[in-house]
């Protein structure tokens, strides 16, 4: 199966990536190759096989409903690219 440039554009949009024309062309080619390679999986029949999601088989891992102190707002915001009045800030266009 090959992937189209249009599909690459759609996926880039889902992933919030802007791609140059070169990148689009390269990714269209490379992803098609990788997906071709993945077709190898089709050699086996999987109808009766259950998927495995985790690398171990634990179940029912719960935490008790007990409050622990939160972090200080200054620590929460310490890496913020932009902040104001204790909040993370995002620029906004006036319409």
């Amino acid at each position: 199966m090959s992937i189209t440039k249009k599909e690459v554009e759609h996926l880039a949009n889902l992933a919030r990536l802007t791609l140059s024309d070169d990148e689009k062309a390269r990714l269209t080619r490379e992803m098609s190759n990788i997906i071709d390679f993945a077709q190898k999986l089709d050699e086996t029949d999987y109808d009766s096989v259950k998927p495995t999601m985790h690398a171990n088989a634990k179940t029912n891992v719960f935490r008790e409903d007990e409050i622990k102190p939160s972090f200080k707002a200054s620590e929460i915001l310490q890496n913020a690219p932009q902040q104001d009045e204790g909040c993370f800030v995002v620029p906004r266009t006036v319409e």
């Binding site: 992803m31 390679f37 495995t52 890496n79 690219p81 620029p91």
Partner: protein
């Protein structure tokens, strides 16, 4: 320069305990070494000299006061730069996190609270790669040949231990990222059973495959570091709640009666003759020591690489979505609205390999393709696990190559992603099945480049690997690199 830095952690632990040396002295010696060799190696993204020396002095003081300390207390280490260290920049070798200072420690760092942190080791960006070439900051060189890659993604950790720029190091292994650089740099690298070491604070690449593990100079050190870092953590729901073992108990040197399988698929096509020969030589050594060695088969192995790239990319596409320029890390300049912050930040902040995996993972999970790719890969995962389970009914440990080839030259495999991905052929299925595995040095190729052999254990059979590795180590030639014309 002090010879201390060429010693192993277990030797140094004894010297520290007897107070024949201080941690400060050792840590200073370690930084002297780094100053001398780092210009050839580039193992570190950032150094933490002041912090490490403060920690060393704190440990020395505690020791003088007779306080109880962990066995490895005061022995300085390198930490892969995707493990969160409170107050120390943690970049994942990405522009995206170039300035990220975690306000919290990874659980594994809390367990290593007596360890002076030398610095944060270089890696492939977000641990995606097999050569450390995708790092945003620098290319780490293989200490055995600085024209060659150290392997990846934990290339900085592997190179640091190999070049005596750290006594031991932590790395992370999603598809071979500890074992392969260990193999290429001639050191021991261990990927524990999934869930044995907490992932809390390890910046996620593929959550169901990632596992933290040590790089050490020998198997004894590996057992010691495992003793420190393994154990249940309530912050990680995938962490196993089992009593912690003392891995040094497996340092017996006795493999009599141990059943060792050599899966034929791992030494077939695609594996270099020299690597194959070393694996077979190791098999003969085991036999001589009284182990029962047999050829076996893991028929699902040819499917593991495709399944691995589908699963890991799918999880990565979701794990890396949070880098959006709002809460931490890089934000692109000149954005006027939210969408622009998202698109520009992510397009400028991620490198090519990361973008490729995000795109692939987004495709694999997208509507209409989920069943054909992601779900199918998870079914293959079931079959791979069953394959291993069946094999481990007969064997205690499997012996295989770690990497199909020795260290390659910079740029040699960068052009074609599939060629690069193929370098992981011997390691990925272990992550898919959640098994423990180690790579240990076992000689060199014609060019003097290290060859590693891989020991694979059953789930929670980590001690079996230590036991087999410790016995085999005796028969492995001692190798060490020459850097800048000196040891």
């Amino acid at each position: 320069m002090s010879e201390l830095i060429f010693k192993t952690a277990h030797e140094l632990a004894d010297l520290l305990e007897k107070k024949e040396i201080s941690s400060e002295e050792l840590t200073n010696a370690q930084f002297e070494r780094i100053e001398k060799t780092e210009k050839y190696i580039d193992a570190y993204i950032s150094l933490n000299k002041e912090g490490a020396l403060n920690k060393a002095r704190e440990i020395d003081r505690k020791r003088a006061e007779g306080q109880k300390l962990s066995h490895l207390a005061g022995i300085p280490a390198a930490i892969k730069d995707n493990i969160c260290t409170k107050g120390i920049t943690t970049t994942c070798a990405s522009k995206m996190l170039y300035n990220f200072v975690p306000p919290y420690n990874a659980s594994v760092m809390d367990r290593l609270s007596d360890t002076p942190i030398l610095g944060k080791a270089n890696m492939d960006e977000f641990a995606m790669g097999s050569s450390t070439e995708t790092s945003y900051f620098k290319k780490t060189k293989n200490p055995f040949d600085t024209g060659r890659i150290p392997g990846g993604s934990s290339g900085g950790s592997g190179a640091a231990v190999s070049a005596s720029e750290a006594i031991f190091a932590l790395g992370s292994d999603t598809g071979g990222s500890i074992r392969q650089p260990a193999s290429l740099c001639g050191v021991v690298g261990f990927k524990p059973t999934y869930g044995l070491v907490s992932r809390y604070g390890l910046v996620a690449f593929a959550s169901s495959l990632d596992q933290i593990g040590p790089f050490t100079k020998d198997i004894h050190d590996c057992a010691l570091v495992l003793n420190e870092i393994c154990g249940h953590d309530e912050h990680d729901s995938t962490s196993l709640d089992i009593p912690t073992a003392d891995f040094t108990k497996a340092l017996t040197g006795d493999v009599k009666g141990m059943k060792i399988g050599v899966p034929k698929e791992y030494i077939g096509e695609g594996v270099s003759d020299e690597v194959r020969e070393k694996v077979l030589e190791a098999a003969r050594e085991f036999e001589k020591m009284g182990a029962e060695v047999d050829e076996c088969s893991l028929s699902m192995m040819p499917y593991s690489l495709a399944a691995y790239y589908l699963i890991s990319s799918a999880e990565a596409s979701s794990n890396l979505a949070r880098y959006d320029g709002i809460r931490y890390g890089f934000r692109a300049d000149g954005c006027t609205d939210v969408d622009e912050v998202f698109f520009k930040t992510r397009s400028e902040g991620f490198g090519d390999e990361v973008k490729r995996r995000i795109m692939l993972g987004t495709f694999v999970l997208s509507s209409g393709y989920y069943d054909a790719y992601y779900k199918k890969a998870q079914k293959v995962r079931t079959l791979i696990r069953e394959d291993f389970n069946k094999t481990f009914e007969k064997y205690d440990v499997l012996l295989a190559p770690t990497s199909p080839c020795t260290a390659w030259k910079f740029g040699e495999k960068s052009a074609d992603p599939l060629e690069m991905y193929a370098a992981d052929i011997c390691t990925v299925s272990i992550n898919i099945a959640g098994l423990p595995a180690a790579s240990m040095p076992f000689g060199v190729d014609k060019g003097g480049l290290p060859i590693g052999v891989q020991l694979i254990g059953k789930p929670l059979g980590d001690a079996d690997i230590i036991r087999a590795g410790y016995a085999l180590e005796v028969h492995a030639p001692k190798i060490s690199p020459e850097i800048g014309g000196a040891r």
